[in-house]
């Protein structure tokens, strides 16, 4: 019977927490069923049994019965207190992530989810986590309220623009799960979906090495543009020729750069790669050597993407 109710009302259980929540859910369901049957059966039975026979029917004049009233106040009070304590206790379990949890930063904005992993890898609308570890997701919003909802894990939290919120879960089996936005956020609220991939160790390592699946089909220049925006290039390198902390990227491919040490070099693929991996090697005249190295932070595909992107900026 419990299995039947679970199938009727609840999505698959895919986290350790799901079972805990579902037990409370099923208990409340039984309370609901029993009380509803009492109320409905009494109402229907009375309507039939005490149907009016004539306009002159006489009825007993009963105004109250203290014992009965105490019974039907106190018994429900006990039941709701059980539900309260159980619900609160299981909620606190969901609030406190284990210390060794794998931590991911998530940012919500209209209408996408962005994730950042411990090694600096980023992904959009797909969250990869290693199987067999508790995962803590720390969330914030760039605009309005959103809510991070994993139905199969029974976790949800609002995502706010002014403070961090968090959820944690430990998946019970590898697989692909739906992420939905549950706080109304405007036009594409219902399309603000993502996927959570609970990967085996090998799959997760492959993800970190190769990047998200959609990179494979993305044109290099587009991936480069995304990298430019997400990896921080945008804060120092303009695209329109204005001078920032670093040289603008506009039309530099094929130009000759003069350096502080008096040497010069044509901007080509090798030069761009060198500037990403070892920025202190050559400092363009008029700039300071403040750029950090991106070696290990960007993947091959991203570096090639940035090169393609710079080529495209005429």
């Amino acid at each position: 019977m419990n299995r039947f109710l679970e199938n009727l009302f609840l999505p698959p259980q895919a986290s350790t927490h799901a079972k805990v929540v579902d037990d409370v859910f099923l208990f409340v369901t039984w309370v609901n069923i029993i009380f509803f049957i009492i109320v409905a059966a009494a109402a229907v039975f009375f309507c039939i049994k005490y149907k009016r026979r004539s306009a002159n029917d006489r009825t007993p004049h009963v105004t109250h019965n203290l014992t009965l009233e105490l019974v039907w106040s106190i018994i429900p009070l006990f039941i709701v207190m059980i539900i309260f304590f159980w619900g609160f206790q299981t909620y606190m379990v969901a609030r406190i992530a284990p210390n060794d949890a794998f931590e991911v930063q998530a940012t919500a904005k209209k209408w996408l989810w962005a994730f950042e992993y411990p090694d600096g890898t980023r992904s959009i609308n797909e969250l990869h986590v290693p199987f067999g570890r508790p995962v803590r997701v720390v969330l914030s919003s760039e605009d309005v309220l959103h809510a991070f909802f994993l139905k199969d894990f029974r976790v949800k939290t609002d995502v706010l623009p002014n403070r961090y919120t968090e959820v944690w879960f430990e998946a019970t089996k590898p697989g692909e799960y739906v992420l939905q936005c549950a706080e109304y956020c405007g036009k594409d609220h219902s399309k603000m979906l993502g996927k959570v991939f609970v990967d085996s160790k090998a799959d997760y390592d492959r993800f970190i090495a190769e990047g998200p699946a959609d990179w494979k089909t993305m044109p290099p220049a587009e991936l480069g543009k995304m990298t430019y925006e997400q990896a921080g290039c945008v804060s120092c390198h303009s695209l329109d020729g204005t001078k920032g902390q670093g040289p603008s990227w506009k039309g530099i491919y094929g130009q000759t750069h003069q350096f502080n040490d008096g040497t010069s070099q044509v901007v080509d693929e090798n030069y761009i790669r060198q500037s990403i991996e070892n920025p202190q090697g050559k400092i363009v005249k008029g700039f300071e050597g403040i750029m950090p190295t991106y070696q290990g932070l960007l993947r091959e595909k991203q570096i090639n993407g940035v090169i393609a992107y710079i080529k495209s900026l005429k």
Partner: protein, 553 residues
Amino acid sequence: MANTVTSSPTKTGTAPPHLNYLTENNTLKAWLTTVDHKRLGLMYLGAVMSFFFIAGALALLLRLELLTPKQDFMDSATYNKVFTLHGAIMVFLFIIPSVPAALGNFVLPLMLGAKDVAFPRLNLASFYVYCTGAVMALVAIIGGGVDTGWTFYTPYSTTTEGPVGLMAMAVFVLGFSSIFTGINFVATVHKLRAPGMGWFQLPLFVWGIYATALIQVLATPVLGITAVLMVMERAFHIGIFDARLGGDPVLFQHFFWFYSHPAVYIMILPGMAIISDIIPVFSKKTMFGYRAIGFSSVSIAFIGFLVWGHHMFTSGQSDLASAIFAFLTYLVAIPSGIKIWNWLATMYQGSIDLRTPMLYAMSFLLLFAIGGLTGLYLGAISVDIHLHDTYFVVAHFHYVMMGGTVIAFIGGIHYWWPKMFGKMYNEKLAAIACWLVFIGFNVTFLNQFMMGSQGMPRRYWTYLPEFQRYHVGSTIGSWILGFGLVMAAGVLLASLRKKEYDAGDNPWGARTMEWETVSPPITHNFEGQPVLRHGPYDFRVEPTPATVAGGRH
């Protein structure tokens, strides 16, 4: 007028037409400037029912769009505006004023044996303030529509396009209408009870309306303040709710629910109050636990002020706050449960006559039981985390608001209709409409419970294909429900075409005072000041016409 003071519970014969509040001075100007609570009650009834059918039609459109996951005939921006309008109109223009302003206005002074409410001119002002708010809301709709949801959550509401400010000001103005009505009823119950009518001889409808009026007076100002702050935030960027200016969007939710949770009780208490009057009459048995029902209304009103945070378990509020709010929420379950037990105990060994108002009362009993019981899921915080902002919540509050309040309201209209117009509707057709509403309602919203707990979020224009079967069921249910409601309205309106007052003064054999005068009542309600001679549900005495003290006035 000698014939007007004879009546009996079984009398269904025709009374000769008498001059009454409907026919006396029956000009447009007289209606528009009336201070008669009965006329104002009818004008409110017409206004709120118009908005009910508008917002109901919007709901049918929403359900139709949701028949398939793809776009059928509305794009997502339109959908967002339509669901906002559905919610805002239903809450602010229909449910909140429905029972108090329409039925309360009509019935309350009659039940108390009074000539009118305490402040008749304030009552008229309240109606025009309501109309002003309604016009502002309509202008906002015509001027592009609002897509914030009826909850106006910041920062979405302070940044989105459209006449949100005007809509919020409409809510502000409507709040004043609600406050005026509340003040009026509190004063009326305190000061205008018939001689001999103590607090524990009040009909339970009066207790419910009184508790509601207290909430209206105490909670509505907070909504007004919140709406003003939100508009100022939009217009002047003062930084109360906007995080970029040092504000806090969650503060808005606290303000909003501080009103809107008590507002839930503004909506449901009058519904319970109607049922508390219908059940004893159609069971021909005195109310079991009269005091318990009266006190439970007041305690629901009181606790209702302390539970707003249960709308915000996922908002990032502190765990301690969540725990306290959840605990207090469960306390509301007890007085609500007490009412259900008392209603059932009243029916026990009664003489039950399942005429249309009683059918609606039974419908209410079952639907409200489901609405209340499913609240137990939402108070369990860990379960609420999963269910929050899903269709489960949508189904839950529709069972309470629609299955509870609206069903009780329609039942109340059927109950007092013969008093209002002196004409009886076709009871067979009215009963069929009641069954259609009951069936349609359950088909619509039971599906929503299932899809919600399965994980379908609310306010979604498109959805995952796995949820489609529930949406199809829900949409089909909505058509049955819509048809039932239109049929109920048609049956009632058709009765008005009758030439004669055929309902009798007391067609249901009730013992409360509004049935002691003629149907429809004369302009001053009673010939002179009636005196209370028996309790409101004392079926040991035969119903009699009003006993008048002090002669004519």
